[in-house]
């Protein structure tokens, strides 16, 4: 069967199981949109207000559903608008296939209209990328792209398809098989048994073990194995922001996030541990703090699917490279043969640290109470997206996440503006059920145009806008480290958010206490986004905080 490049693309996407694409049309993808037009029953295309919103939506769709996200944009500005979204997926290892159109092959590199070497631009922020110059390569390229994006350490793959390639017809083989193009590193490997034996030995010698859980635990779906390990060893679990949700927040030994804005107990326990069992984590600076402040006596076991992460940011005593889904059962099996006696004193020490986290609270309209109220209001399947900044950290600290893939946030890149697009993608992945966006006035301002998209699709996104009239995270640093020089962080914008929501065809309300907040959450419409603006004091801070370069002893409470 002969099909045009554009038709081959759409047929192959359908075959890959793609049900939804986020994108924005333009001159160099008209052929693809024409092929989409013929297949709207099989693929749902969501038109966003900006390509960046589409990129964030596909990213969040993937995080929630576990499937590969797909983005479609035109060349030139359409493609360059994707860059922050590509970088976001890259740093958080999210499988997204980005498809861009481009000028015809003979025009490439001629500085033709909207001619950008977008594959050149995105080189350092993709897992892999392609320029398809020959339509005969197109089908295989799409198959490979999906496999690469979703294997090993997942990540974004970019396919650039010049306009003439979209138009040219060639033979389409509907049952084309995979060519097994995966790198050895990404295939299932024989797990190094020696590494597991060494890990068992270190664990047996440890009196104060600490399990350090990263996004890899969610990616490999090994939360249950983690809890089993934790119970066997009497080891608490702390996590990076990306690890949140992998293990229920209510699990008694889950101490929550550690790192720069981690919880007190989680950080203190990590600093006192004699063994850190790090799983699916890359010891980023924000999560780890100063690696040099780790005690020399603390042993580290590092298990990760990406071999290049082992020894990259921190020295490890034992490392195992591979998929947690295969390694953890083997490790647990190895430990079951041994006599394990959880250390009661260690648990007591942890419980005493937890008291600091569980200080009695008053009922004022503080960020902590706001997040707690939201957390108590919704069932635990509800997807919570955030933007980036103080509200994000408060959400990470105080929201009670019980299920994997319910906390959707820009981790590695820390991209303000992520939230609105992400909420849209998450809401689609969650069958258009109630989805939350917890955001701030700064972040929301970046991509609020996506309200239009949410309205068009009647998405029940409840937007809790925590408004402190400033770029709070930077202000906090200015307060603490820059002599209160509030340089360009005070937002004198006077935006009327409920009116703004109305202008977009949605609605909104300002609340000033917890009772009003709860009522507004209840009253959120089922078929439209809704802004709930919570005005808080400009000087609220995210605490605890471990300033950069110091250990837990420098923690500000």
């Amino acid at each position: 069967m002969k099909l045009s490049g554009a038709e081959i693309l759409i047929q192959e996407l359908i075959k890959q199981g793609v049900e939804i694409i986020f994108g924005y049309p333009g001159g160099y993808v008209i052929d693809i949109y024409d092929a989409l037009y013929e297949n709207t029953q099989k693929i749902n295309h969501i038109l966003t207000a900006h390509e960046q919103g589409a990129a964030f939506a596909a990213d969040a769709y993937s995080r929630v559903s576990g499937k590969v996200g797909v983005v479609l944009a035109t060349g030139g500005p359409g493609a360059t608008n994707l860059i922050t979204g590509i970088a976001n997926a890259y740093l958080d290892s999210v499988p997204v296939v980005f498809i861009t159109g481009n000028v015809a092959v003979p025009m490439l590199g001629q500085d033709s209209f909207q001619d950008i070497d977008i594959v050149g631009v995105t080189l350092p922020i993709v897992k892999h990328s392609y320029v398809v110059r020959d339509v005969n390569d197109l089908q295989q390229t799409i198959i490979d792209a999906f496999e690469i994006a979703n294997s090993g350490r997942k990540g974004p793959v970019h396919i650039d398809i010049p306009k003439d390639v979209q138009k040219t017809a060639c033979e389409y083989i509907s049952d084309k098989a995979n060519k097994n193009i995966l790198k050895i590193e990404d295939k299932n490997q024989d797990i190094c048994l020696a590494g597991i034996n060494e890990a068992v030995k270190l664990i047996l010698n440890s009196k104060q073990p600490y399990i350090y859980c990263g996004g890899g635990v969610t990616a490999s779906n090994t939360g249950d194995e983690l809890i089993e390990l934790s119970k066997m060893l009497g080891a608490p679990i702390g996590m990076s922001m990306m690890g949140i949700g992998a293990v229920p927040g209510s699990y008694e030994l889950n101490l929550g996030m550690s790192g720069m804005h981690g919880r007190y107990a989680s950080n203190m326990t990590k600093s006192e541990a004699d063994l850190i069992i790090a799983l699916g984590i890359r010891f980023s600076d924000r999560a780890t703090g100063a690696a040099s402040k780790y005690s020399n006596d603390t042993k580290i076991i590092h298990i990760d699917i990406d071999k290049a992460e082992i020894g990259k940011n921190i020295y490890t005593d034992v490392s195992i490279n591979g998929d947690l889904k295969e390694i953890l059962p083997k490790l647990i099996e190895g430990l079951k043969k041994e006599k394990l006696i959880p250390n009661k004193k260690w648990i007591e020490a942890i419980n005493s640290h937890k008291k600091q986290d569980n200080k009695p609270k008053n009922d004022d309209f503080s960020p902590e109470n706001i997040i707690n109220s939201i957390s108590n209001h919704f069932d635990k399947n509800t997807i919570v997206t955030t933007d980036v900044g103080q509200h994000q950290m408060w959400t990470a600290q105080y929201y009670g996440f019980e299920k994997p893939r319910t906390f959707i946030s820009s981790g590695g890149l820390g991209a303000m503006g992520y939230g609105m697009g992400a909420a849209i993608g998450a809401c689609f992945a969650y069958n258009k059920k109630r989805t939350l966006l917890i955001t701030g006035d700064g972040s929301f301002g970046m991509n609020l145009t996506e309200l239009a998209t949410a309205v068009s699709h009647s998405l029940p996104i409840t937007i809790i806008l925590i408004n402190n009239n400033s770029l709070g995270m930077v202000r906090q640093w200015q307060t603490l480290f820059f002599h209160k020089h509030y340089s360009s962080t005070t937002l004198d914008r006077r935006t009327d958010f409920p009116a703004l929501a109305k202008a977009f065809g949605a609605d909104g309300i300002v609340v000033s206490n917890l009772t009003e907040l709860d009522k507004a959450l209840t009253n959120s419409p089922v078929d439209s986004p809704y802004i709930i603006e919570c005005k808080i004091d400009i000087d609220e801070q995210v605490l605890p905080m471990i300033p950069p370069g110091v250990g837990v002893s420098g923690m500000i409470l």
């Binding site: 350092p124 897992k127 892999h128 690469i148 790198k183 590193e185 071999k307 082992i310």
Partner: protein
């Protein structure tokens, strides 16, 4: 900080050099020399890259390179377990009195004269880094007009590939 050499087999298509070089650039690892050419199978090229760094850098370079989809194989070519050579073309300044002397100098390095005229001579020299450096030092005394080095190329010792 020591020099280290990696041999890399990559897919032979456009953009691959960018990906490999970009990986060095991203982490700020300087490339001291880079040589690249097609292998016996035109689908693949082979690169030899000499760089400087400690054990950590070396390990990171190799592991990060292995992750690139277009990279098929990476091998660290240790000095004592590999054979290496570099080619160089040098254009030297000449005056009549020194012609015979310079020809002899080039011969003493097993070099070949590729081109000459009234007031210049272009020589080809091959050898390990130490020999090349030694030649350059001596040639500076004569007067170097222009120089072009191929960068080191390297294979593992023994019969086995890699």
């Amino acid at each position: 900080m020591e020099k280290f050499t990696v041999g890399i087999i990559v897919s032979n298509h456009f953009g691959v050099l960018n990906r490999v070089a970009g990986l060095y650039a991203k982490r700020g690892y300087n490339i001291d020399s880079l040589a690249v050419g097609e292998t016996d199978d035109p689908k693949y090229s082979r690169m030899t890259i000499v760089s400087t760094g400690d054990d950590y850098t070396r390990n990171q370079v190799v592991e990060q390179l292995k992750k690139l989809q277009d990279v098929k194989m990476v091998v660290l070519l240790e000095n004592d377990k590999s054979v290496s050579i570099e080619h160089m073309l040098v254009k030297l300044k000449l005056d009549n009195e020194s012609k015979a002397e310079i020809s002899e100098f080039i011969n003493s390095y097993s070099g070949n004269v590729m081109d000459f005229g009234e007031d210049f001579i272009t020589a080809e020299i091959s050898g390990n880094a130490e020999k090349i450096e030694r030649f350059i030092k001596a040639a500076k005394e004569i007067g170097i007009l222009e120089i072009c080095r191929s960068g080191l190329i390297s294979l593992s010792q023994g019969k086995n590939a890699w």
